[in-house]
Amino acid sequence: MSAISLHKKIEENTGLLIFGILFVSAIGGLVQILPVLNQDSLKTATENTRVYSAVELTGRDIYIREGCSVCHTQQVRPLIAEVERYGPYSRAGEFVYDRPFLWGSKRTGPDLQRLGGKFSDDWHRIHLIDPRAVVTESIMPAYPWLARRDASQAGNITAKLRALQTLGHPYSEKDIAAAATQLEGLKEIDALIAYLQMLGTGLDEDISI
């Protein structure tokens, strides 16, 4: 059967057309995506990478809620200027507990992957409530409500840890039981700062590139 008469068949049959589209479009995913999902090196944590604490996880989810990843990347590229500006480039093993990944696609503000420890908690507090008080040219929005809202109200932390435990994150029953008390007395801003301060600390300390 020539290609043209074969195609005439597909062209006149709804079922064949649906199957044809599904088959042809699935090949790419099967060959390219499936191996990535099975690649162990992408699932293996670097030595210092650990699961987020209850407070850090709450902070991370606030980061997601406020859309910080719309303007801030968390992905240092292996380029001289980037390593110089931000610190060691990103390794896959640092992200194994990131659901979802927060690499971002637009760098309106600076990259944040190596932010942890660069500024004091107090600096972050002022900067989040009134960015232009510390960086005059900043175009970051202010987040005054973070200082008013209780961290314990920002989602159900016990259910969150349970869900992540189901997905294979090594939380113990003790971690889960203690989670809610760890958030007591904290504001949302405290949780977010805890997250920002641990960003990028998953690499060995002697790695400088």
């Binding site: 006149e12 790419g28 995913g29 992408l42 590229r77 380029l79 929005p141 989602g155």
Partner: protein, 479 residues
């Protein structure tokens, strides 16, 4: 048996979808203009969390893609599948369900984004309850669409229907795989993929949402409305067939080019780059096919605003599908990645291609659906020039911003020290952002003109009933 009752096309649902599409276009573009102003005057959120940039930006993108774009695709899909099949819609009540269920998803989904319910995965921000609702509505859309094709009275399935078909099937596949997550509460879930793997799955989705929704779906629009409106058959039907299969096969590989220089394995990135370059062939084959189709109807092109919009959209389609593969080269991407260049690239597609071809088809369809002439051709011509000016100004301002960001970020002096601080580079963007704000306002103004023009066109008119024409026995199913 039902011949007497069911011999006219269901066009009322088409009209309703067009109305919703225009409303979402106005709202989502207004959100776009607003956030572009926030980048110049950051206090424009007035301390209100729901006006904050990080929440409004996903509202803008989702409103455009799913409100404006998908409503327009459903409208044109329902309109053209009936006419190319010579049969009324299959299960018209289900088509109405799709119409309203989709609007409800866009409305409530938009509000949920303002409330901070988000997965943060681009163009898939809506949380799991919406993901389920989207999947159900999408399947219903597929049932109506493929059911109509299965009932057709014309033997071959016309090329536009293949593109709409690919839109429905591939988006369903991408949406379901990328949205898999463990729910925590009603507004929060955790992706079943983590880190680098999540990134690869997300950009497989993200890039192909652009591919099969914003490219494939709108190509379906082009393949029906361009020949119809110019009164010329497709220049080369065989080329359109070849381009369709190459497009469907190769697009799906290109996603990881969004992750150059990341922690994703190199072979994935190289493969994505190669396939992105190959993609240039079917993209330009389609563009050439469209331009050649209309080339013998150049007289009409001078006078008809609808046709002008469609032909101009092809030019921007060609531009964006050339720029895309170029940006997938690591040596170009190293400059363009993370900058406003990417934003400009997206808008040369979204404004120049998607919005303009939609405007062209709306100007074509709406007067016909109510059996009248367009209220004002003059206003439509003014809209055309505003749309062109707005798009050009947008693209050029973002090229300027993006190329300077990219080069200044990478700039180091002879001993390897950074030449510029991030803050200095960022604050030098204000003039470009100002131009972009103007560009957005011009484009939005044009869209508002169209809304007024089409409103006046349909004011006081009733939808006309279009009878299904007799089938030429040469093409009939039973011939």
């Amino acid at each position: 048996m039902n011949e007497v009752m069911n011999n006219s096309y269901h066009d009322k649902v088409v009209i309703r979808l067009i109305q919703f599409s225009i409303i979402w276009a106005l709202l989502a573009m207004t959100a776009g203009v607003y956030i572009s102003a926030e980048l110049i005057w950051p206090d424009m959120d007035f301390g209100q969390f729901w006006l904050s940039y990080g929440r409004l930006r996903p509202l803008h993108t989702n409103g455009i893609i799913f409100g404006f774009g998908v409503s327009a695709l459903m409208a044109t899909g329902f309109y053209s599948v009936q006419r190319t099949s010579h049969v009324p819609l299959f299960l018209p009540k289900l088509a109405w369900f799709c119409c309203y269920a989709w609007q409800l998803i866009v409305l409530l989904g938009g509000l949920s984004l303002l409330a901070g319910w988000t997965t943060s995965k681009e163009y898939a921000e809506l949380e799991w309850p919406f993901d389920i609702a989207i999947a159900v509505t999408w399947v219903c859309f597929g049932v109506v669409f493929f059911g109509t094709i299965a009932n057709r009275k014309i033997k071959p399935i016309y090329i536009s229907n293949w593109f709409y078909g690919a839109l429905i099937i591939v988006i369903a596949m991408l949406h379901i795989v990328n949205s898999l997550a463990i729910p925590v509460t009603f507004g929060k879930s955790y992706s079943i993929y983590a880190g680098a793997q999540d990134a690869v799955v997300q950009w497989w989705y993200g890039h192909n949402a652009v591919g099969f929704l914003l490219t494939g779906g709108f190509l379906g629009m082009m393949y029906y409305f361009l020949p119809k409106h110019s009164g010329r058959p497709i220049w080369s039907y065989r080329l359109s067939v070849v381009a369709f299969w190459t497009f469907t096969y190769s697009y799906i590989w290109a996603g990881p080019h969004h992750l150059h220089y990341s922690a994703v394995p190199d072979w994935v990135l190289s493969l994505a780059m190669v396939m992105s370059v190959i993609l240039l062939a079917p993209s330009w084959a389609t563009m050439i096919n469209g331009v050649m189709t209309v080339s013998s109807a150049s007289e009409k092109l001078k006078t008809d605003p609808a046709l002008k919009f469609i032909v101009l959209s092809l030019a921007f389609y060609g531009l964006a599908t050339f720029e895309g593969p170029m940006m997938s080269f690591p040596s170009v991407n190293v400059v363009s990645h993370f900058t406003d260049w990417t934003v400009g690239h997206v808008h040369s597609g979204a404004l120049g291609w998607n919005a303009m071809i939609t405007y062209g088809t709306f100007y074509f369809m709406v007067p016909r659906l109510v059996g009248t002439e367009l209220y004002s051709v003059r206003l439509a011509n003014i809209h055309f020039w505003m749309a062109l000016a707005g798009t050009m100004l947008y693209i050029m301002s973002m090229w300027g911003a993006g190329v300077s960001q990219g080069l200044l970020w990478l700039s180091v002096d002879e001993i390897g020290e950074l030449s510029f601080s991030f803050t200095d580079i960022m604050s030098s963007m204000t003039p470009y952002y100002g131009l972009r704000l103007m560009a957005g306002m011009i484009f939005l103004g044009g869209t508002a003109l169209m809304a007024y023009n089409l409103y006046m066109t349909v004011l006081g008119k009733q939808a006309v009933t279009v009878q299904v024409p007799k089938v030429d026995p040469a093409f009939g199913v039973n011939s």
